[in-house]
Symmetry: D4
Subunit: 209 residues, 8 copies
Amino acid sequence: LRTGEPEVVYGAGKTVDQVLSITARLRQAHPEHPILVTRASDETRAALRSTSEPVTEDPLAAIVAIGALPTPNLGTVAVLCAGTSDLPVATEAAFTARAFGLSVVEISDVGVAGLHRLLAARETLATADCVIVVAGMDGALPSAVGGLVAVPLIAVPTSVGYGAAFGGLAPLLTMLNSCAPGVSVVNIDNGFGAAVCAARIVRTKGALT
Amino acid sequence: LRTGEPEVVYGAGKTVDQVLSITARLRQAHPEHPILVTRASDETRAALRSTSEPVTEDPLAAIVAIGALPTPNLGTVAVLCAGTSDLPVATEAAFTARAFGLSVVEISDVGVAGLHRLLAARETLATADCVIVVAGMDGALPSAVGGLVAVPLIAVPTSVGYGAAFGGLAPLLTMLNSCAPGVSVVNIDNGFGAAVCAARIVRTKGALT
Amino acid sequence: LRTGEPEVVYGAGKTVDQVLSITARLRQAHPEHPILVTRASDETRAALRSTSEPVTEDPLAAIVAIGALPTPNLGTVAVLCAGTSDLPVATEAAFTARAFGLSVVEISDVGVAGLHRLLAARETLATADCVIVVAGMDGALPSAVGGLVAVPLIAVPTSVGYGAAFGGLAPLLTMLNSCAPGVSVVNIDNGFGAAVCAARIVRTKGALT
Amino acid sequence: LRTGEPEVVYGAGKTVDQVLSITARLRQAHPEHPILVTRASDETRAALRSTSEPVTEDPLAAIVAIGALPTPNLGTVAVLCAGTSDLPVATEAAFTARAFGLSVVEISDVGVAGLHRLLAARETLATADCVIVVAGMDGALPSAVGGLVAVPLIAVPTSVGYGAAFGGLAPLLTMLNSCAPGVSVVNIDNGFGAAVCAARIVRTKGALT
Amino acid sequence: LRTGEPEVVYGAGKTVDQVLSITARLRQAHPEHPILVTRASDETRAALRSTSEPVTEDPLAAIVAIGALPTPNLGTVAVLCAGTSDLPVATEAAFTARAFGLSVVEISDVGVAGLHRLLAARETLATADCVIVVAGMDGALPSAVGGLVAVPLIAVPTSVGYGAAFGGLAPLLTMLNSCAPGVSVVNIDNGFGAAVCAARIVRTKGALT
Amino acid sequence: LRTGEPEVVYGAGKTVDQVLSITARLRQAHPEHPILVTRASDETRAALRSTSEPVTEDPLAAIVAIGALPTPNLGTVAVLCAGTSDLPVATEAAFTARAFGLSVVEISDVGVAGLHRLLAARETLATADCVIVVAGMDGALPSAVGGLVAVPLIAVPTSVGYGAAFGGLAPLLTMLNSCAPGVSVVNIDNGFGAAVCAARIVRTKGALT
Amino acid sequence: LRTGEPEVVYGAGKTVDQVLSITARLRQAHPEHPILVTRASDETRAALRSTSEPVTEDPLAAIVAIGALPTPNLGTVAVLCAGTSDLPVATEAAFTARAFGLSVVEISDVGVAGLHRLLAARETLATADCVIVVAGMDGALPSAVGGLVAVPLIAVPTSVGYGAAFGGLAPLLTMLNSCAPGVSVVNIDNGFGAAVCAARIVRTKGALT
Amino acid sequence: LRTGEPEVVYGAGKTVDQVLSITARLRQAHPEHPILVTRASDETRAALRSTSEPVTEDPLAAIVAIGALPTPNLGTVAVLCAGTSDLPVATEAAFTARAFGLSVVEISDVGVAGLHRLLAARETLATADCVIVVAGMDGALPSAVGGLVAVPLIAVPTSVGYGAAFGGLAPLLTMLNSCAPGVSVVNIDNGFGAAVCAARIVRTKGALT
Ligand SMILES: Nc1ncnc2c1ncn2[C@@H]1O[C@H](COP(=O)(O)O)[C@@H](O)[C@H]1O
Ligand SMILES: Nc1ncnc2c1ncn2[C@@H]1O[C@H](COP(=O)(O)O)[C@@H](O)[C@H]1O
Ligand SMILES: Nc1ncnc2c1ncn2[C@@H]1O[C@H](COP(=O)(O)O)[C@@H](O)[C@H]1O
Ligand SMILES: Nc1ncnc2c1ncn2[C@@H]1O[C@H](COP(=O)(O)O)[C@@H](O)[C@H]1O
Ligand SMILES: [Mg+2]
Ligand SMILES: [Mg+2]
Ligand SMILES: [Mg+2]
Ligand SMILES: [Mg+2]
Ligand SMILES: [Mg+2]
Ligand SMILES: [Mg+2]
Ligand SMILES: [Mg+2]
Ligand SMILES: [Mg+2]
């Protein structure tokens, strides 16, 4: 299937050498678009930086792109989260979306327990073609955002929290049961997957073929 | 322990005869305050109505009080829910709270996915000494309400929903992980228990002794 | 929020009278687009048929629309499932999608264990702007379909199966872990929710405002 | 919302620098009441001690307050637990309660399997406006204490134990099912949250506005 | 293995005819001691009553013994529970223990939330060679009783309760984590199994061979 | 309660100093019987060895007794397990039983998948007044042993295994559902608790008072 | 794929008419081998009996074959279970195996708690090319049988039991953790699936092509 | 039971010395076939290499065989997986199968989301007498492969993945619910066990005796 999307390597559990050789091979096969490496360790990212390829990276999300990023001409995704703890996952989503050619607006200081900040973001939200909402613990944020937008909303539960958060199970269930319309859900901490969904949603059908 | 609270019979799984004899005995022992029967079947409620005692009941919550209800002079509890499906549990909470001497304001058309209706309730909320929030499915409502009040909030998950709601597990976990301050949680569908907590919260300490 | 979408009533646990009065009220408030009633019992559907309103219904999915359905001019969604057991959920999705203005192509005889039938559907799949895949038991179908399309895919686990299917938990987890890109997931048996996502994905952004 | 409560920073997963900058900002914005940092690492606490601000801390609970603590004039909360293992959580509750202006009495050598010690604590219990009960493993203590008091009881399950304690799931379920009236529950190990509930319960309504 | 114990038929899921033929066969093979049928439906018990064999039964526990019960000369077991709801399981235990030759004292109005009634039972408890404690919901009773006795204690969780009781999972976990010494646990609702354990505990070793 | 049993300190999560001061205090209060420290780290055990008290220890089980062990005159418990992996738990049980005054026979090379070795142990089993069976993974051993003995059997699931053993959940459920009569169960890895049950079972009632 | 195996219809959740039309269609397409209908209701089986096709059925397993059964010439499978409760699943396995061309020996009175009966079956077991072991509750039987045979063993957990059997979860986990070599597992109550595995195991490779 | 199979030592949790002495003893007792050590640490494998015995090992699977491997004359097993992450488990299966006398073909670049690669492997698959399919995350691969082969298929879930993979629970459930015929399942990550099943399946019955 020819989708025009970046190639992606899941870095977790791979040695630096494995990543280097996989990315070199992919780079040669697909020189026209970037290679993404997600969950890339500090060592892996350092090794990639010291090759001759141009790399862009985000240490917070442990993600790196090899090759020039595309011009963001497909449309806009808004990525929301409540702050510090959810930022690694939100950033993985934002970085990936950019690598797939989207414009990204990041809103990272909104939470259900402080509705005024969320309501203040409505105008920014209105510019988005798609919304990604990242939340841990109670995972309530997608339900609130879902009531404020009419575009597709992809919810990402995170493993942030303790006790009865059960490693992300709590927000996962919350989001699957969201009473707001138009919400679908990806795996716990899967900011990457949410961005791929967003990219496929945002690009026009014609752009595909 | 002498608490001045109504006696309570848990009607589920008890025969009409068992309830009649237990309530008769309790009535004699505690003539000064009402007897509550929760989860009382239609038959049990009919049987209690046909005794000589004055009874008040709410069919939606399947709850009945035997004996005069107290004057609501302790304070006010607000009971919130999203509507039709959660009403039986919210009503169990409201009825119980009244039987314990509280004033009750019921707000039953608010949901996280429609923030304007929730925000419109702020003024009413501000009059309450304690808030009970009943929600099924995503269970997100307490987190949103929790950001709007400074009084104690008791969250009640309900078994409303299907699939990944898992009989109330989803909203239970949501509520235990609520990122709003001052939220505590009772068992799934336990409107009764939430009201007892509220009554103990609202009455002043002096009133107890 | 003005989204131009049908109003929807969740029929489960509501009496015939409740549904009649809610739909009458909604009909008056929103005469320009249809009212959907999902999970509507035989009695509820019969009662709605005997009002003066035009109704369309699908008994298999226990769903009914009041008022004329829109012309399908937004785009096309493909709804796939493996057959008999998953049809109620797939049909809920297809009916809802039509009520939201989509063209729908239904493919209901494909399964992962018979890849040739799935591969034979590729041409039809290629015409879709969005794909909904409904599957119970192993829930493997979205992963296989996900490798064949470049449009967004919404996966719907069903409660079909027994034993270790655990009421839909097995396909839910499968789908959340799908190794195909661009897959997001809704609640178990939530064909309705998948269709709302699809409608929001398919309609162009301009159509919204 | 203006509640007069301390600002609180959740220290887990934050770097020393992040905590220092957040607390400095909060301190400037809210000079009139203390800043709490919970789950603060040894390094974070050391760094806070070496600023010019007055700090109070409890190493056992890994909690620290920046700024003068309030005079305890709201009322009294009793914090109970069985001993050594539950002390970190109980201490987090006690410290937080003090930072919110409560008087605290700590009772940390009571367990359900030794009822005489619990009964010996009755007089102390009687002086409390609210009770926090911390317990791991079987989580039975709140049920026993609940029968001895007429004030609100907040139960805190802990992750203490092994095997079928399942990281606090066992006492969490025990407490949600407590057969004593007036018990509500917070997240596993959430001594902080219990204290916030207690503070909101204890302070009189008038004090709020 | 020759243990001198009654033969036992698990009646659930067996037709009346199956039970009749199995018990007839067992009766002939083991005329010297009774046959127990547990979980016996009303029909099964009626059919057994109308045979020529002497039968003893307890409708509450749906249990029946065919053949004369033994003289209770092995020792004494105390069976405790909190009341109405747990009585079927407690009665299954008591009836079975008698059929195995134990004296039984039943204490069925004690609960952790009312310690005075429990403490009032201490003298009776002191006469027992073994204690069975039956409890649903929070399952806290064995921990409290465990602190009052020095004989073996068998805890039986029941499926009584709703919501987070999860069909007996909550009291099962509570009991497995009991902080009282000398507590072991049998399956949810397994009053029968607890009594067999008690019988084996109580009879002296010599009696066996 | 005066039971004549050793005092016990649960060493996990306690510092060396905490254990030293607790044991010193207990030793003074109860000079007539030994103090047990379970789950004692290498450091803790070394520190206890270097006091002037006589200590006995088992490094495999990380358990230590302070003070002379009693003469084993109460009766005999057999402790069975399948081998290497379950030995730490089986040894905790055996050591504890000895500290409580029992004779112990250890059988540690039997498994359900090798019935001949199990059957070869029948004669040894016949000498026991009580049997403790320790097993991880499938936890099937107690069911097989339960068919070979007529004395009480206490089953101990262990956390040995991987994957679907789920930290001991698998053998725990197996044992709770054992189809052999007279089996009761303690917490995962709780060899200590099983031995306390055994001691209470084995000692004659008279010995208690 | 041409496997020479019967066609199979899963009868659960299908109307009589659906089954009749599906089987008629299959019969025409594959006249040379039988059609199996599993989980067929009494009505469905009656309807199939009254067609002109020859049918064989087993009411206990609710299974029916349309068309002549093959001569059992592939080899032998032994199907073991403990008795009454597991018989429906064991019979589904045995009937299916015969429809796939296997000879079947059924052993239905063996259990882990009565090893002598199991050992008495060794000679019969030795004649089998493959063994299916069906067990509920503790699910221990496959581990014991696994130690007695050197041919492949397929374990089938059943939903028989109550409480902590959790609908077959307990024996499923037991079997997945079996310490006997050569054991693999199918879904809870899936006697049919076990027999298909057995048929594929038993037939020689040559027979396939 | 004399099965002619290698002896196997489970290396996890055993010290180097324990493994050395066990293998030396087994080697003497069974000089005619190899000893396998699974889950053998680097240290253990180094120690075994420095004995005088011939050893073969696979570091990826942490497995080692002591003694000459048999000539692969029983038949052929195909071992499939999707790549890098599942390779350790697939390799454990392949290595074990060879030690049991099977020929092995390894196919390690197939996944459900790339059906063309899977279909390209059909010819190789057709040469196998038995198929082992290893998959983590969605665990969908066995369902797809199951539709392409007519020989027995053993599915091995792996703990690869994160979030809702829940340590292998997701693919385990997927595989147990596979809608392809002839699939049975072993424990999570149990490549060893799958190979033993395969060996027993593949060798002809005559070869056994
Ligand atoms: N709906 C309810 N949910 C939870 N607990 C209840 C409910 N109704 C009554 N109770 C409690 O059950 C006790 C009475 O139980 P019982 O003796 O079985 O009637 C009362 O003291 C209450 O604390
Ligand atoms: N089958 C369904 N599954 C999930 N949500 C639904 C379903 N049908 C309707 N809804 C949602 O439920 C809301 C109406 O709920 P209610 O007010 O109870 O009728 C609608 O706005 C929909 O978003
Ligand atoms: N290994 C163990 N497992 C479970 N409970 C134990 C263990 N060791 C000691 N205990 C119990 O823990 C209590 C002492 O706990 P602590 O006061 O924390 O030392 C003792 O009375 C024992 O009943
Ligand atoms: N990786 C493995 N996974 C599961 N079981 C294994 C594994 N390796 C060896 N075994 C089993 O463990 C037994 C040996 O266990 P042990 O006596 O503890 O070394 C062997 O007979 C095998 O059946
Ligand atoms: Mg949130
Ligand atoms: Mg809600
Ligand atoms: Mg499928
Ligand atoms: Mg406790
Ligand atoms: Mg209780
Ligand atoms: Mg075992
Ligand atoms: Mg069995
Ligand atoms: Mg896969």
